[in-house]
Amino acid sequence: MSDDSDLIRLFAEDDSAISDEAFVSAVSARIRMRQYAVLAVPTLLTALLLAAVWATWPAAYVFSTSVMSGLATLGAMVGTLANSQLGMTVALTLVATGLLWAWLFERFVARD
């Protein structure tokens, strides 16, 4: 065998028709399983969270209200900072750093 066309012909001759209904059914079953998983995982997590809240009441109530109030305070602080010149400078610096990082990543890492 010396020519590329001989090799191409050999590949073409080797192409046996592989086709069966079991494969189609297996693919459909796998897709259905993934769809169920997409629904089941968040549902399961929510159920576990509710069970944990029920089991630890009223500690869960105290914890959640303190977390919420902490988040609200943090939100107010971020809002105040964002309205200041310092906040705008920090935000612009962060955005510029992010863009630079994304460009460098694309340029030097992702193509490896």
Binding site: L7, D15, I18, S19, D20, F23, V24, R30, I31
Partner: protein
């Protein structure tokens, strides 16, 4: 094709029915194990189902599906550490220990995985070197080298 992209499972099953031969054939040439090849082929169609809405041209489905299959095989090969060094010098590969002609699949099995992939895509699927570089993410020079060396080895081993 349009129906499948809109989420019609029966339309997608028809696509699987029509395209399974080419994808399973491609992956069987790349894998030594037919069961593993069929498993990867199933995963290819599952990925295709998830990403079908991203496909712009219905006519490009066949080529796009093969690219998905190549990506799935590359992921498997990385997990199985088959691609420790895609740039490795293929000179280390030993010739088949049988005398006389051997069949194509056994000869392919003897190539290292990157060479096998490039040779199958070039000679078996008719992809250009540029298309193989796009599909694999490897540099064009590496692809050309794998095709040339792998092709030369196959021709040598498959001599009548």
């Amino acid at each position: 094709m349009m129906l499948a992209a809109l989420g019609d499972e029966r339309a997608f099953a028809e696509l699987v029915r029509r395209r399974q031969g080419s994808i399973r054939g491609l992956l069987r040439k790349l894998c030594r194990d037919a069961t593993l090849a069929d498993d990867l082929a199933q995963e290819t169609f599952v990925q295709a189902w998830r990403m079908l809405s991203q496909l712009r041209q219905a006519g490009a489905f066949g080529g796009w599906l093969k690219q998905v299959a190549v990506r799935i095989w590359l992921q498997h090969a990385r997990r199985a550490k088959l691609l420790l060094d895609p740039l490795e010098d293929a000179e280390a590969i030993t010739a088949p220990d049988v005398t006389g002609a051997i069949d194509l699949q056994r000869a392919l099995d003897r190539l290292n995985p990157p060479q096998r992939l490039c040779v199958v895509l070039s000679y078996g699927e008719g992809l250009s070197h540029g298309e193989i570089a796009d599909a694999t993410g490897w540099p064009l020079g590496t692809v050309k080298s794998h095709v040339a060396r792998g092709g030369a080895r196959l021709k040598e081993w498959l001599k009548p």
